[in-house]
């Protein structure tokens, strides 16, 4: 079985975000980049599926040389090989999806895992876009998974419950927190990752369908009122909620 985990390399959640001089992208100076946290669930799911069914695991990403760091981490976690679609130019989601789909067509995997979303652009689009471009089913925000031969049962979080979804391979699945506990790279894994291959390919270019017009810091909310201290402040809080905010 061939299993691919599509991953991303993103600014650390704690990173201070400064808008770049173009007013459309962030200033990356001094920003620490990490393997996208949700993608750790995707990598873990790929590793677990290989442990159960056998086969090969591949990590795939699109980006600059910096992305190799994230790929190296997936190799340290136990992924067999990595592919970097090397492209430093800014792309929108659809253009990334098309480049990933081109590569995935060649790889022809049985199962493709994604993180639910990248914590930079928050699009949550990749599994659906790539699934559609490949003509295979997709299931997003999955919190439980069961493979039985070619039949797959997923649970995905919905408002007020969980949806049980049946599908079959090949399939694109995005992982939500709760699906598994990502393993830490072992020392042996880290050593081994240094000799595992990272292939570099040149992705085709696709025209943008979404333009970023501008990027701003959100208007800083005036720090609110400290109504008071302790339980004595409660009546005043309720009065404000009723009379000022008018929400009761």
């Amino acid at each position: 079985m061939k299993i691919v985990a599509c991953i991303n390399h993103v600014p650390d959640t704690e990173a201070k975000i400064k808008i770049g001089t173009d007013g459309k992208t962030i200033d990356k100076t001094g920003v620490n980049f990490i393997l996208n946290p949700y993608d750790e669930f995707a990598v873990e799911a790929a590793l677990q599926l290989k442990e159960k069914m056998g086969g090969e695991t591949i990590a795939l990403t699109l980006g600059g040389d910096g992305h190799k760091e994230a790929l190296r981490k997936t190799l340290a976690m136990g992924i067999d090989k990595a592919i970097l679609l090397k492209d430093n130019s800014p792309r929108d989601s659809f253009s990334v999806a098309q480049a990933l789909a081109d590569e995935l067509k060649k790889l022809s995997p049985d199962c493709i895992f994604f993180g639910k979303q990248s914590i930079d652009y928050y699009g949550e689009q990749m599994p659906g876009l790539v699934g559609e471009l490949l003509g295979i089913p997709s299931v997003s925000a999955v919190v439980a998974l069961n493979f039985e031969d070619k039949k797959i049962t997923c649970e995905r979080e919905i408002e007020g419950g969980r949806e049980i979804v049946e599908t079959s391979m090949p399939v694109a699945i995005s992982a939500q927190k709760g699906l598994n506990e990502p393993r830490y790279p072992s020392l042996k894994g880290i050593m081994a990752s240094k000799t595992k291959p990272i292939e570099e390919h040149q992705p085709a270019n696709y025209p943008s369908v979404v333009d970023v017009v501008g990027l701003q810091k959100p208007s800083v909310k005036q720090a609110g009122k400290i109504v008071g201290a302790g339980a004595d402040a409660v009546p005043e809080l309720v009065r404000l909620l009723r009379e000022e905010a008018k929400i009761l």
Binding site: P37, G128, G178, S208, V210, P218, A223, I226, L237
Partner: protein
């Protein structure tokens, strides 16, 4: 020019987001001089459909089929795509709900359409839509313009307020939809319902607890306050990771994004991961013993002090105020 607003239903009942999406569509339609059409996909939809007309949908199309009663990513995507094509619509709006987020990219790919996800504002500038969406954990807002011939937008629930339009009604049309086995490569075979309180993403009030609650047993204080207000219970990542609360209650980066009218944060310090999930709430109340906690920076109203004293007092005071 035609705009299609996808109105989500579950079990034949329209979601609150359906009215929000139709209202947002109506606002854009007026500015662009476009026609607004709403689409519902499911089964047995006649009774709920006319209500959308009161929010500005001129026509309400029912893609009604017994096999569409339960959600299917692939079948719903096919049905909606065909409607967009048949209607020659150029703008498609969906809610950024679990269904909308799952569905929209598949439709966008079928139509080679650009998509702006999880928008918190739409405006029209020079005849073009500019969508605003939070990025980088809400630390920046991106204004984006979709430049493909067909445009897809998903709208964050609870942010766009549904407003009825006086004296308008819509025409309900049942349309035939052609679905076959091959369209159901994913299918929902069941739903595990979590009984009780509303979901954090849908509730108009959310009461959340963090590490300051000191233990899972103390969440009864949060629950009592929530039940007094008919609110949802939320939780910070720390308490979900500690196993005190289930993951479906988690608000923040690895949990859910919420935008209720009132968010009450109890014993939550306000890490950036948490703020990413709740900072678009309309009013935020923070209760925390640490006066320097970052949550007070985003709160409209704060009380510094012990949650174990304040929560029972607040529950009692609100019980009097709302009369339950």
């Amino acid at each position: 020019m035609k705009i299609i607003a996808f109105a989500e239903q579950r079990e034949g009942k329209l979601k609150k987001s359906a009215f929000e999406v139709v209202t947002a569509g109506n606002n854009i339609a007026q500015r662009l001089g476009a026609n607004l059409v709403s689409v519902i996909v499911g089964h047995n939809l006649e009774s709920s459909a006319p209500a959308l007309g009161e929010y500005g949908a001129r026509r309400i199309l029912l893609a009604d089929h017994q096999r569409l009663r339960q959600y299917s990513t692939t079948a719903y995507a096919k049905v909606i795509t065909e409607i967009v094509q048949r209607e020659q619509a150029t703008i498609l709006l969906l809610p950024a709900s679990q269904m909308g987020k799952d569905l929209a990219p598949r439709i966008a790919a079928k139509l080679s359409a650009g998509m702006a996800a999880d928008c918190i504002a739409l405006r029209v500038d020079g005849g073009k839509i500019i969508a605003t969406r939070p990025v980088y954990a809400g630390k920046a807002l991106a204004d984006v313009k979709v430049i493909s011939p067909i445009q897809v937008y998903t709208l964050r629930p609870n942010v766009f307020t549904a407003v009825p339009v006086k004296g308008t009604t819509g025409v309900v049309e049942k349309i035939s939809c052609d679905v076959a086995d091959a369209d159901f490569t994913t299918r929902v075979t069941g739903i595990k319902v979590i009984e009780g309180r509303p979901d954090v993403t849908e509730a108009s009030i959310v009461v959340s607890g963090g590490r300051g609650m000191k233990g899972p047993e103390n969440f009864s204080l949060i629950e009592k306050l929530a039940d007094t207000l008919g609110a949802a219970v939320g939780a910070s990542r720390a308490v979900v990771d500690a196993g005190w609360r289930p993951h479906d209650e988690q608000v923040g980066q690895t949990g859910k994004t919420v935008a209720p009218t009132l968010y009450i944060a109890c014993g939550i310090s306000g890490a950036i991961q948490h703020l990413a999930g709740m900072s678009s709430s309309k009013y935020i109340v923070a209760i925390n013993k640490d006066k320097d906690a970052p949550i007070f920076q985003v709160a409209d109203y704060g009380i510094v002090g012990d949650v174990f004293e304040i929560l029972p007092a607040l529950t009692e005071e609100l019980r009097k105020a709302v009369g339950t």
